[in-house]
Each structure stands twice: as structure tokens, then as C-alpha cells.
């Protein structure tokens, strides 16, 4: 019996305990990083923002089985919505910026999914790339609002709750990011276990079967896209608040593709997989490119091939298998 099936057999009280453990683990890891790497908080905050994007991608790809190489669209929608709110309308309250980012992401997710979900398999993948290219080009053309290829600057978030300024070392931003991540993480653990989450997993495995149960497939996936869009939009808004600029790269194909690589690396279909994949990928990117800026992609490529060949369920899947083996070998 494989590890992932046993979890569903547990009672819901046991899963509540698991939730608590997972949240404590993430909080503890964040606290350790905060203490050990006080000069790298900006990088860590960026990692949290990307984690939200990859969690979002995990919802539509890992849980609901939608093939997409354009997921940066919802991330960028959140980033630009929050950025424009602050830079053009002078509304610089960070929580308001996050809320607008999430709303814009949800809207972008729902609207783009209406097109993407018309395709299946390869055509779906192509549609997702097409939609993302349109969004990227649209943002480029609307330079009066977005700053075009120069990027959107002039974002100066006011103090959080009117009390905590966004300091030079990025402490406030990092703590806010981690709290946000924890809230989203626990929320999504509930969502993927809910009847709706079960329905999405079922659609991933056999949409024909789901229709024969009388359940709506298209509408369910649009709804999942909206939820995922809110999560990624939150990530985009977080990056706007923390870095104070929004660039076209937040909508780029590279961002979409890298998010998928991170998800596969960590293990799709598990929320923890999205977190681990992002942390490992961005961390390696930062370290290796500092040593050799030209060949870091080569090394990531090698790592990815190794993961796909030897640990198809990603790093977390491999760890799970290893853990099961250790447990079984003990009497």
C-alpha cells in the first residue's frame, strides 16, 4: 500500500493533528531561517511569494489535472493589481494591496480558465501558453498603467497595521509573508480534503466517471481555477509589497515554466511538495548562480532529470517512500 492512500483512511481528528504538525513545521523552519540568515530575508520573502504561485499551480495541475504552462498570468495579475493600486491610486495599505491582489488573481484565474479548459491535454497546454502570452503582451502595451518593459515603480507600502514599517532588512515583509503562507497553507489543506477537493481529484483521474455521477466538471474546474488564482494573486501582491516594483517578468513564460519545474521537483499533488520544490529550486538558483551565473540552469536540468527518472513523485514522494521503507524494516 502506498503512503498517499493511507492518509485518506485516517479519521478527521487525526488529520487535524497532522495539520497542526505541518503548520508548526513550516513555522519552525521559517523561524530558524530568520535567525540563521538575517541578511537573506529579501530572498526568503521572494521564496514565499513564489511558494504561493507554486501552491496555486499545484491546485490546478497536481490536484485537478489541468495542464498549464501559463500560470504566471494569475501571479502577475495580482502583482500588477496591487502595484497599480499603490502607484497610481496612492492606496498603499499593505493588507488592502494583498486583498486586491488576491481578488485580481481569482478573477484572472476564472476568466482565463474559461478558455484554457476548452482544450484537453496538448491543446490545453498550448491554450495556456497563448493566454499567458496575450497577458504578457497586454501588460507591455498598457505601459501607461504598467510601466511596460521599464516595470512599475513608485510603490511605497505604508506601515503594516499602521505600526510596523517595511524596514531595510525586510524583517516586517518576511514575517508578514510567513504568516500569510501559514494561513494559506492551512486553508488549502482543508480545501483539498473537502468534498470539492475530492471532486477535483476525481476529475483529474476520470472526468467521464465524474459526469456519470451527475457532477459538473467544467464549473468545478473553473471554481478551482478561481481559488488557485486568489492564492497566486496573493503571491504576486506579496512580491509587489516586498520588492516595491512589478516587472513584466512576473507574467513571463519563464516564470510559468519554472513554477512547473519547482512543482515537479517537490512532488505534484501534495501541498508540501510545492513548498519543498520552491525552496530547493530558488535556493539552488541563488547559490549556484552566485558561483557560476552561466551554468546554473544546466545543473537544475540535471537535477530535474534525476528527479523525474529516479523519484517520479518528486523529492517529497521520494522521502515518503524512504520513510515507509524504514518503518517497515523495523520490527
Amino acid at each position: 500500500m502506498s503512503g498517499r492512500n493511507t492518509t485518506h483512511a485516517l479519521s478527521w481528528r487525526t488529520t487535524a493533528r497532522e495539520d497542526l504538525t505541518a503548520v508548526l513545521a513550516v513555522a519552525a523552519a521559517a523561524a530558524v531561517l530568520f535567525v540563521l540568515l538575517p541578511t537573506n530575508l529579501a530572498l526568503l520573502t521572494r521564496i514565499v511569494a513564489v511558494m504561493l504561485l507554486v501552491l496555486s499551480l499545484d491546485l490546478v495541475t497536481g490536484f485537478a489535472g489541468v495542464a498549464t504552462l501559463g500560470h504566471a498570468t494569475v501571479f502577475g495579475a495580482g502583482a500588477y493589481a496591487a502595484g497599480i493600486l499603490a502607484a497610481k491610486f496612492g492606496i498603499a495599505d499593505p493588507l488592502l494591496m494583498l486583498a486586491i491582489g488576491a481578488a485580481a488573481g481569482a478573477l484572472a484565474g476564472a476568466v482565463t480558465s474559461l478558455v484554457i479548459l476548452r482544450g484537453h491535454g496538448l491543446s490545453q497546454l498550448v491554450l495556456s501558453i497563448a493566454v499567458a502570452s496575450l497577458a504578457h503582451e497586454g501588460a507591455n502595451k498598457l505601459s501607461a498603467w504598467t510601466g511596460g518593459s521599464d516595470g512599475l515603480s513608485g510603490i511605497t507600502p505604508s506601515a503594516l497595521f499602521g505600526l510596523f514599517r517595511f524596514d531595510l532588512f525586510g524583517r516586517t515583509a518576511f514575517i508578514m509573508a510567513v504568516v500569510l503562507l501559514l494561513i494559506v497553507f492551512i486553508g488549502l489543506r482543508v480545501v483539498v480534503r473537502s468534498p470539492f477537493g475530492m471532486l477535483c481529484r476525481a476529475i483529474k483521474q476520470d472526468p467521464v466517471r465524474v459526469r456519470a455521477m451527475g457532477a459538473p466538471v467544467y464549473f468545478t474546474l473553473v471554481k478551482m481555477y478561481a481559488i488557485a488564482g486568489a492564492v497566486a494573486g496573493l503571491g504576486g501582491a506579496l512580491s509587489a509589497v516586498a520588492t516595491r516594483v512589478v516587472g513584466l517578468d512576473s507574467l513571463s513564460f519563464t516564470t510559468s515554466a519554472e513554477a512547473l519545474v519547482m512543482l515537479v521537483l517537490g512532488g505534484a499533488g501534495k501541498l508540501v511538495g510545492a513548498l519543498v520544490g520552491t525552496l530547493v529550486f530558488v535556493w539552488l538558483e541563488d547559490r549556484i548562480s552566485a558561483i557560476n551565473p552561466f551554468h546554473w540552469l544546466t545543473l537544475i536540468g540535471v537535477l530535474l532529470i534525476a528527479v523525474v527518472l529516479f523519484a517520479p513523485r518528486g523529492l517529497t514522494g521520494a522521502a515518503e517512500t524512504l520513510w515507509e521503507r524504514i518503518r517497515k524494516s523495523q520490527p
Binding site: N5, M198, G214
Partner: protein
């Protein structure tokens, strides 16, 4: 009133009539078998009734309501449920989750984002009852990949029952099941609620003759016989069109 009324259904693929003016009534408690040689149009007929194909002429009514124009999904919600000839299960889910998902759908809760079915006493109790009805009570928490094939076929029926059908279309429920285990499926079918109308589509004559109280024979898209199992093997047209040597074997020597 009849639960399922199919009237003058017609479907052409190109110039070929695959369903040729077929009419069929199912009443409460009916146990009807639809048989016919390969290519007789049984699958097309099922797809027309479930709504996966659009007929060129004719109508389908469910419990007095004309459903000819509504989608397959809507027909399921109104009580017209089918099982699949090839097992279609969610490999990463347990039997309990399969049945619970179907129940949640029927109860209008499958869109809930913040609840957990394991904390819903009515869903837990009813899914246990349905698994029990199909002798799967001990398998509720085993991954479906660990079930014997016969048990997977039973789970297909369990999912259908969770949807509280008025009319149940069973597409070869014993297909692929080893001979000795077909008895289990027969027994399970015998335990289903009496008021349910069941249309069985199958090849296995012994199975059909034990299950059905009425047999319909389809050949080249048209119904050529409608009567009791006892009569069917005596009917000359059926013999000629379909049963052939099999009928001789049963009645002769």
C-alpha cells in the same frame, strides 16, 4: 406511470440506421435484459438513453418528464444512472470515498470547500450501508487497486446506488469477472431495492436468463423480440438472428 419511456428512437450514422425506431417502456420493479449480437446497436441505444448521443428522432422520458433535450449529467441527477462496461474507478481513492463522493453529489454538497465528509454522520452512515448492501463493508478503506476485479464491479454498482436511481442501466456488470465470481454479482443484483427499474445489457445468456423477467432482442438497430426468457429461446427469428447454435444447445439434446 412508467419510469422510463423510450419512444420511436432513431439514430443514423451516415446512411446506416444504428437505432431504427426503437420504443421501450420500463416500469417500477422491472428487471429487463437487452441482448443482441455484436454490432446490433446496444451501446448506441444506451448512449441515446443516457444522453451521450443525440437522436435524430424520437424521445426519452424519465418518470413522466421528457429528458430528450437535457444533458447526461442532468439526467443522472433526475435518477437515470448507468454503470460502465469497463470499470471506471478513481485509482487513488478508497471505496468509501467513491461512495461518499456520489452521496455528496446527490445531497448537493459536492461543491463544499470547507467541510469534511468524515465529519458528516449521515454521509458516513449511508456510505457504510451501501457498501454493506454490496458486501463491501470490510473493503471501505482499502485502495481500489487492492480490490479483486469482482469487487471493483460491485463498487461500480455501489456508486450507482449512492445516486438513488429510479432507472439503472447496467452495462455488462459481470464483464471480465472470473466465472466463479459472477454468482457474487448476481446475488448483489438480487438484493437491490425492488422498486428500482433495471435494464441489463449483456452477452452472457445464463446470466441474463437468471436475472431478467423480460428479454428484449436487438438486431441491426431494431427490436425483433420482446418477451419472457422462456419464450425467447423458442422464437424462430431470434434463433435465426442471434442465438443460433446456442439456443439449439439449450433446447436440443
Amino acid at each position: 406511470m412508467s419510469l422510463l419511456a423510450v419512444r420511436n428512437l432513431r439514430k443514423n450514422f451516415g446512411g446506416l440506421a444504428v437505432t431504427d425506431d426503437v420504443s421501450l417502456i420500463l416500469n417500477r420493479g422491472d428487471r429487463v435484459a437487452l441482448i443482441g449480437p455484436n454490432g446490433a446497436g446496444k451501446t448506441t441505444f444506451v448512449n441515446l438513453v443516457t444522453g451521450h448521443l443525440k437522436p435524430h428522432a424520437g424521445s426519452v422520458s424519465l418518470d413522466g418528464e421528457d429528458v430528450t433535450e437535457i444533458s447526461p449529467t442532468q439526467r443522472v441527477r433526475r435518477g437515470l444512472v448507468r454503470s460502465f462496461q469497463v470499470t471506471r474507478l478513481f485509482s487513488e481513492m478508497t471505496p468509501q470515498e467513491h461512495v461518499a463522493l456520489a452521496l455528496l453529489q446527490r445531497l448537493g454538497r459536492s461543491g463544499q470547500v470547507l467541510s469534511d465528509y468524515r465529519a458528516m454522520p449521515d454521509v458516513v452512515a449511508e456510505s457504510a450501508a451501501i457498501l454493506g448492501l454490496l458486501s463491501l463493508e470490510d473493503m471501505g478503506r482499502v485502495p481500489v487497486s487492492d480490490l479483486a476485479y469482482g469487487q471493483q464491479r460491485l463498487l461500480e454498482i455501489a456508486i450507482a446506488m449512492a445516486l438513488q436511481p429510479k432507472v439503472l442501466l447496467l452495462d455488462e456488470p459481470a464483464a471480465g469477472v472470473p466465472g466463479a465470481d459472477t454468482v457474487l454479482i448476481e446475488k448483489a443484483l438480487a438484493r437491490l431495492p425492488v422498486e428500482l427499474a433495471i435494464l441489463l445489457i449483456d452477452h452472457d445468456m445464463d446470466f441474463v436468463f437468471r436475472f431478467a423477467r423480460r428479454v428484449i432482442v436487438l438486431t441491426a438497430g431494431a427490436i425483433i423480440f420482446d418477451g419472457t426468457p422462456a419464450e425467447v429461446s423458442r422464437d424462430a427469428r431470434v434463433r435465426e438472428a442471434y442465438l443460433g447454435s446456442y439456443a439449439d444447445e439449450r433446447s436440443g439434446a
